[in-house]
Amino acid sequence: MHILVVEDDEYLSEIYPQILECLGPVKSCLSMSLALLAIKVTVPEVVILDLGLPDSQGLDGLARIREKAPAAAVVITTGESDENLAIEALRRGAQDYLLKGKLDKATLLRSVRYALERKQTENKLRRSEELFSVITNSIVDLLSIIDSTGKRLYASPSYQRVLGYSEEEMAGLDLSDLVHLDDRSKIQEALARLFSEGTSEGLEYRVRHKNGAYLVFESNAACIRDTQSGVPQAVFVARDVTARKQAEAEHNQMEMQLRQAQKLESIGQLAAGIAHEINTPTQYIGDNTIFLRDAFKALGEVVVAHQALLARYESGDFTTEEISAVRRQFDNADLGYLLEEIPKAIIQTMEGVKRVTRIVGAMKEFSHPGSDTKTRTDLNRAIESTVTVCRNEWKYVADLELDLAPDLPFVLCLPSDFNQAILNLVINAAHAIEDARSGDSKTKGLIRISTRQVDEVVEIRVQDTGCGIPAGIQSRIFDPFFTTKVVGKGTGQGLAIVHSVIVEKHKGSISLESNVGEGTTFVLRLPLKEV
């Protein structure tokens, strides 16, 4: 500890160092100018300052010392006549004052020790205050302190920048007036809980910018107690998350649009498949009808010839040539073939019409227009319709088996969403089988869909003999945008939609069992009772 003694009394300026040297090196100066020079060389921790120096009188001396050595503790020594001045010196930052006449060794030592200690505490406090001020002035976050009546005790300058007000405007504003009307009660409740229980959760609310636009703030609060009064106060640390909220909203919007796109894409794909499913029976209905037309014409000619011959026969006026002519016509008419094929052509035409009817019916059920509300739905039938409309997507790579519990209760659900989920799973299953089969195009895979009631839950299993899902990616398959298909082949929304439909919209659950190279089973569980 360095100590500087500034004293023009030659005697005292020798005595003080002798007393104080037990505390550390002491330097003694007879004038202010010498003292200031000494400070330049070594900054002292304690200064013993006489207020009546030849080149410095009164508080001026204190000011000059404090200017050069702000961290030093200053102890004033003074004559009795100057006591008022000494008291003023205390107010201006001196640690203590000693009356020269009453000074003894012990008093001086004690005073210096205390002065030093007080000064150190003061320094710490000042550093901490400086730090606080640097932090609060420079942080992006918003810091405020509110008392239990809601009165603002402090608001960091960042409020001005974020909300667009000047310091003066800010001083005159009640922050709670800027909070969105709908969010005020939320804040009130949080404050009440904070003051009563001392706990708080993250809070999100809207605050009006000077330009009128609402910003979204996210804040945390803590309860502190005033050091003197013990009255609780709330410290709020808030952050402007408007940009992040916007980005989130845009992201959600994009996800929505992508899901819509996936729906449209699957509808487009389905339409092409359905066209093929309808074109095939239409082809043979047309062919058979043309055959029936030609066959009827051939038969009609034979019948008319026979009718004519019969008339001639009845009238008794006919020749054997006429009979042989009709016989020739009869022989050439390909009758054996016609009689065998006509019934088949009729049956197959009817079969074709039935097929078209079935597909059209399934299409209608699949799309289920105008069902935005949950209705009691026969899931078995919904599954049958869905696999019929997408038959073209799986029939070339797989056989499809349905094992539907005949006594399955109706489930309250959104039919078109449910169909979409089943469609996505079946199409994925077909793709997985196609992947697994590549190279071997002879054997077909198998897709098996079963329904069961298990207690209060309906369980739908969609099983395939496809390539399987590696364990490493199983946790990500329901993420929107996650896809293993080549770029441009899938939107990555298929399973995300399944998840959204089953888990979010129907409060059900999805699990999967998958082994690479063996296949995958998706298990959907829908609650029978609404949660």
């Binding site: 066209a275 095939t280 082809q283 043979y284 209905i285 062919d287 055959f291 088949k344 052509a345 197959q348």
Partner: protein, 403 residues
């Protein structure tokens, strides 16, 4: 009986749906005296059947389990190139179509008009029958592109890389090239694109397909081919191109001068441009023989068709008509190619001005100003100038074209 069986066209139908096969079988029962038909339910079976009996025509579905239509047609194209390959499918799957753009000669879509099917099989068989050499039938049957002039090819590629290029601009470039015109018309006239009428104008074709489709067909599917040198020393692709373009333009001008309907004039330009497609095929695929042919023409004064007949057993008109017929281009174009040296024998005849006569006249006019043995010997049928519509106008017509 054996003689009759020999003349019957052998047609194989392939479809995975037995009811479709049975329907076709009944519907085509009336063709049983002209065609020998078989029906199998898969690609593998079709290939197996071909081993013991080569069919003249195979009509196949596209999407089938196991071997699909594209795979079957590709296998057929490699093993039995002279078998005519027709797709009959209910699918409009672009990707699948792209897979057999090269190997399918024609596309029919389900449900298909039975008369169209019958006509298609009969007409292509007829053209095939005109090509007496099996070797040439095989070569023509396996051609999926005609070579394009490199400069034109580059011009088109450059135009396609620009976003702002219009269909009209693309059409204009394509209309300058024999190979591109033939191929784009093959595509647009296939039933897959659902066109209800025949198109013979490349600009209309591009407009109909759309610049995007054309872009992906050219850049991704490579439907056109930039020509390498033909391999004959007697003739270059540029010679054939200059001649064809001139005949196309003049044939169209002749039709206009004779006040023929606008639509016929369009047909005439394309017909003129493609009329020597056969010469291009011979020069490209039978280069040595073609040297010999032009040698006979130049030194022994053989007419071109006769020299071709003597060396190869077929002439360029038959070969060109066969390919363009296989590709399903409008029949007026096919007949212009087939009869451009002898219009009087065409079904249209020469009693009235028509595209065949116009191409014939333009070809004859060109010959008068050409020294190239491939083109200098086309003679205008003298009976043509006696017809009332042309009588006394021949000189005037030639002058008006400033030939």
């Amino acid at each position: 009986m054996p003689a009759e069986t020999l003349n019957k066209k052998k047609v194989l139908f392939v479809d995975d749906e037995p009811l479709v096969l049975q329907g076709l079988q009944r519907m085509l029962r009336s063709m049983r005296n002209e065609w020998e038909m078989e029906f199998v339910d898969g690609g593998a079976k079709a290939l197996e059947r071909m081993k013991s009996q080569v069919f003249d025509v195979v009509v196949s579905d596209m999407r089938m389990p196991g071997m699909n239509g594209a795979q079957l047609l590709n296998a057929l194209a490699a093993q039995y190139p002279d078998t005519i390959r027709i797709v009959l499918s209910g699918h409009a799957d672009q990707e699948l179509i792209a897979q057999c753009l090269g190997s399918a000669h024609q596309f029919l879509s389900k449900p298909c008009d039975p008369d169209l099917l019958k006509k298609l099989v009969n007409e292509t068989c007829q053209l095939s029958g005109d090509v007496a050499s099996e070797r040439i039938r095989q070569v023509v049957g396996s051609i999926d592109k005609l070579p394009s002039i490199p400069a034109t090819y580059h011009k088109l590629s450059a135009a396609l890389t620009k976003e702002e290029t219009t269909a009209a601009e693309l059409g204009k470039i394509i209309a300058q090239d024999i190979g591109m015109t033939a191929k784009i018309l093959k595509l647009v006239n296939s039933a897959f694109f659902g066109l209800r009428r025949e198109l013979s104008n490349p600009t209309e074709a591009v407009t109909y397909l759309g610049t995007e489709t054309v872009r992906s067909l050219v850049l991704a599917n490579g439907i056109f081919e930039e020509s390498s040198p033909l391999g004959t020393r007697a003739i270059t692709l540029e010679d054939i191109w200059a001649h064809s373009l001139s005949v196309g333009q003049h044939a169209k001008a002749i039709m206009r001068a004779l006040k023929a309907p606008e639509s016929d004039q369009n047909d005439t330009f394309t017909s003129g441009l493609l009329h020597d497609a056969g010469t291009l095929i011979l020069a490209r695929h039978f280069s040595k023989a073609y040297d010999e042919i032009l040698d006979l023409v130049a030194n022994q004064h053989y007419p071109n068709t006769l020299a071709e007949q003597r060396v190869l057993g077929v002439n360029h008109a038959e070969v060109g008509a066969y390919l363009i017929g296989l590709w399903g281009l409008p029949s007026v174009i096919i007949r212009c190619i087939q009869f451009h040296h002898n219009p009087a024998q065409s079904p249209e005849g020469i009693e009235k001005p028509n595209p065949i006569c116009a191409v014939h006249l333009a070809d004859g006019f060109y010959a008068k100003n050409s020294r190239h043995p491939a083109f200098a010997h086309s003679i205008i049928d003298p009976t043509l100038s006696e017809k009332p519509w042309l009588s006394g106008k021949l000189e005037q017509l030639q002058q008006s074209l400033s030939l």
